[in-house]
């Protein structure tokens, strides 16, 4: 039993789960099953992070991807679910494009993975630390601009480049703020002008020649009344708040 490299066993377990779930995402017909296969794949990636000793990053993966992104994805699917979405039909053209894109990405990733130097390898059985090393503080300080794990860098040229990640943090924060404001703006209550109010406005305007100054205020009233009331009620209010006129109320 001492010859079994448990790190490799667990690595292949998580990696196999991630790859298998990824294949299941592609091959499932039902979009909800695709979403939950994606959950399994992202959870396996979080497991890989935990295996590499990055507990903060693994928790972040679970929180952001599994608990946030996939939940939003499933929300989107559920709220827009029509019968065709539950069994997505894919044309042959989409398959060709997908295979070509994936092949390019695979080539790029393989080239990057095989270019890693041999000295950086998986930990040998004797070298594994007994417990998780603390990484949270170092991540926090690095995000604030201090690379605490590289303090004793003797080369001053290299030290200048190790200034932490404060600028990316600020840029990401501003991006997130923009996204938040954009989302709030997109989700605001919109004012719908219903068609018959517009028609009434067009009918009314030739007869209101003597009150031409009031016409812009009427159109303003139209838009403000139609925001929250039904067209019928809006019509009556329009008539009641408008100037006294002899037009027949219908």
């Amino acid at each position: 039993m001492d010859s079994i490299n448990w790190h490799a066993v667990l690595f292949f377990l998580f990696a196999g789960l991630a790859c298998g779930a990824g294949v299941a995402v592609v091959l499932c017909g039902n979009i909800v099953r695709m979403a939950f296969a994606l959950v399994a794949a992202l959870g396996a990636v979080a497991g890989l992070f935990f295996l590499a000793g990055a507990d903060f990053l693994g928790a972040l993966q679970l929180l952001v991807y599994v608990g946030g992104t996939v939940v939003l994805l499933v929300f989107g699917v559920m709220l827009t679910a029509q019968r065709p979405l539950f069994a997505l039909p894919c044309g042959i053209g989409q398959w060709v494009a997908a295979v070509m894109t994936s092949a390019c990405l695979l080539a790029l990733l393989l080239q990057a993975a095989l270019a890693v130097h041999e000295s950086i390898g998986p930990p040998q059985p004797g070298q594994l630390p007994a417990s998780l090393q603390p990484t949270t503080t170092q991540i926090g300080l690095a995000l604030l601009g201090l690379r605490a794990d590289r303090l004793h860098q003797p080369d001053p040229v290299l030290r200048k480049g190790m200034s932490g990640y404060l600028l990316p943090l600020e840029i990401a924060s501003v991006h997130l703020l923009v996204v938040l404001i954009g989302a709030v703006f997109l989700a605001r209550t919109k004012r719908h002008l219903s068609s018959d109010i517009l028609q009434r406005g067009q009918q009314r305007s030739p007869t209101l020649s003597d009150n031409s100054a009031n016409t812009p205020s009427h159109s303003g009233n139209t838009s403000s009344h139609s925001a929250s009331t039904s067209p019928h009620i809006g019509n009556t209010r329009f008539h009641s708040t408008g100037e006294q006129s002899n037009e027949p109320v219908d």
């Binding site: 996939v70 603390p134 605490a148």
Partner: protein, 506 residues
């Protein structure tokens, strides 16, 4: 535990040591989770009954019906296993276990006593929040896989509610983390050792406010009333649990109570001192690891009992809220989260940041109540924490060193038994043959209000036994409205010797 086991075994069996350690931790936590769920079920029924002016279970398992959860479980196990025809069978079967798994895995990072935590992580709080956010997926899965509109609506409402309330919950959680300077739950609780004044909830008024916002967000996270739209019984039959019956429903049910226990535990550790009580009993009695291993074990057991008591206190408060307040509508729920809790939590966070910048220490310690002396080891068993990973050559500016709370603070120690002045009474010479330990125990016992030697006789729940319970016993409010008075001993109708003729004086 794994390290101790590996030190006993030779290297080829180390994997067995880790497996055994993992299995022991998992078995202990599973026992705790299931027992806590069972006790919570009983508590809910009893507390709900008392609030509604009735008794609750009284028959199963003796006087107070404490075996009622067992009866409930057996009944539910015997139900028919129904899967709706329109349901997605695989996902329908898998959903309850996903919810329970996520809830149960949050127990991994909760420390029950000093050093007694299944996963001593540096980022424990973060992992708790991350795993707790996985429950939503199980609920959505359950709602979708049931193939029913009620279930889907309930699942969508639940997902919206839980995901929205994660934000103010995380903001409230960040506040004690900021005060303690670490994400590790063990460290946060260690820093609250000592008396009640060391608790982080009393550190400054912003944390006090954040504690109540955290309580409300925890109630919303576990979908308890007044936030229980997803399982609203009067509206959606049972929400996303509509199509679940029998054992699968039991799993959802237990997941809900396990989640209540877990978020109560997190609140207790972050705000209420964790295993440290209002009074440091274990240290006043000298039950520490530097005294001896058995004393340390006893001290840790006391701490565990204290922590579990605080968790159950949180559960009782949640049950109390459920049966007191009416249910919020879903738009009210979202308004509360987005318009009230998020700004309030952000304001608390900003206020706490300013407090840390401006004030030296917590508000009680700044005026001299409950001073902490700054020497000693970090953990109770003398081992230093593993999160001191910064090299000493790191020179931070001086204003960061001003605050005694935090990772860069010197490790703290509260009052040791030797610092307590000796017991002084008028008859101290009469007591000099009594051991100081017994004197201290007596001193502590007299401190608790309401303790008396005859406490056993004057038990609050009453010591009388009835064959059947009179109305005065179970309904004190209605006791005075009945003209019929319960008699202790029934008087038989008087059969006097006076006959009718003698009464008529004939």
């Amino acid at each position: 535990m794994a390290e101790r086991l590996t030190s006993w075994l030779d290297p080829s069996w180390h994997w067995l040591a880790y497996a055994i350690a993992g299995l022991v931790h998992a078995a202990l936590l599973l026992t705790l989770a299931l027992t806590a769920a069972a006790v919570s079920i009983w508590l809910e029924r009893k507390v709900a009954a008392r609030i509604q002016d009735r008794l609750g279970p009284t028959r199963v398992g003796g006087r107070y019906g404490w075996l009622q959860p067992l009866a409930d479980g057996l009944k539910l196990l015997g139900k028919e296993d129904i899967i709706p025809a329109a349901a997605d069978r695989l996902l329908f079967r898998a959903a309850p276990y996903l919810v329970y798994g996520a809830t149960f895995c949050t127990y991994m990072v909760l420390p029950f006593a000093s050093g007694w935590v299944a996963l001593p992580l540096d980022s424990a709080v973060f992992l708790f929040l991350a795993i707790a956010s996985l429950e939503v997926l199980g609920v959505i899965l359950a709602g979708y896989a049931s193939g029913s509109k009620y279930s889907l609506f309930g699942a969508m409402r639940e997902a919206a509610q839980v995901v929205s309330y994660e934000i103010p919950m995380a903001l409230c959680v960040v506040i004690p983390v900021m005060l303690a300077g670490t994400l590790s739950l063990s460290q946060i609780a260690e820093q609250q050792r000592g008396w009640l004044t060391n608790w982080l909830v009393f550190h400054n008024p912003f944390v006090f406010g954040a504690f109540f916002i955290y309580c409300a967000c925890a109630v919303a996270h576990t979908n308890r009333a007044p936030f229980d739209l997803p399982e609203a019984e009067s509206e959606l039959v049972a929400g996303f649990m509509t199509e679940y019956s029998g054992f699968r429903w039991v799993v959802f049910f237990m997941a809900e109570y396990a989640a209540m226990f877990a978020v109560s535990g997190l609140g207790a550790i972050l705000f209420l001192g964790g295993w440290n009580g209002p009074v440091p009993i274990a240290d006043l009695l000298g039950l520490r690891y530097d005294v001896g291993p058995l004393a340390g074990l006893a001290g840790n057991l006391l701490g565990t009992v204290n922590f579990i008591f605080k968790c159950f206190l949180g559960v009782v408060c949640m049950v109390w809220l459920r049966w007191t307040l009416p249910r919020l509508r879903v738009d009210q729920v979202m308004t509360l989260c987005l318009k009230y809790f998020i700004p309030l939590a952000t304001a608390m966070l900003a206020g706490c940041m300013l407090w840390q910048y401006a004030m030296k220490d917590g508000m009680l310690r700044s005026v001299g109540i409950g001073q902490r002396e700054a020497t000693g080891a970090d953990r109770q068993d003398g081992s230093r924490s593993s999160s001191m990973a910064l090299p000493d050559a790191l020179s931070l500016p001086d204003n960061h060193r001003r605050h005694p709370i935090g990772r860069h603070a010197p490790p703290v120690r509260y009052m040791a038994a030797a610092d307590v002045p000796p017991y002084q009474t008028a008859s101290s010479d009469a007591l000099r043959h009594v051991s100081p330990y017994a004197l201290k125990c007596a001193e502590i016992r007299c401190f608790f209000p309401g303790y008396s030697a005859r406490a056993k006789e004057s038990h609050v729940l009453g010591a009388k036994t009835y064959n059947f319970i009179p109305r005065e016993a179970y309904s004190p409010r209605r006791a005075g409205t009945c003209r019929f008075r319960w008699r202790k001993t029934w008087l038989h109708p008087v059969r006097s010797k006076i006959t009718r003729s003698s009464a008529l004086d004939l």
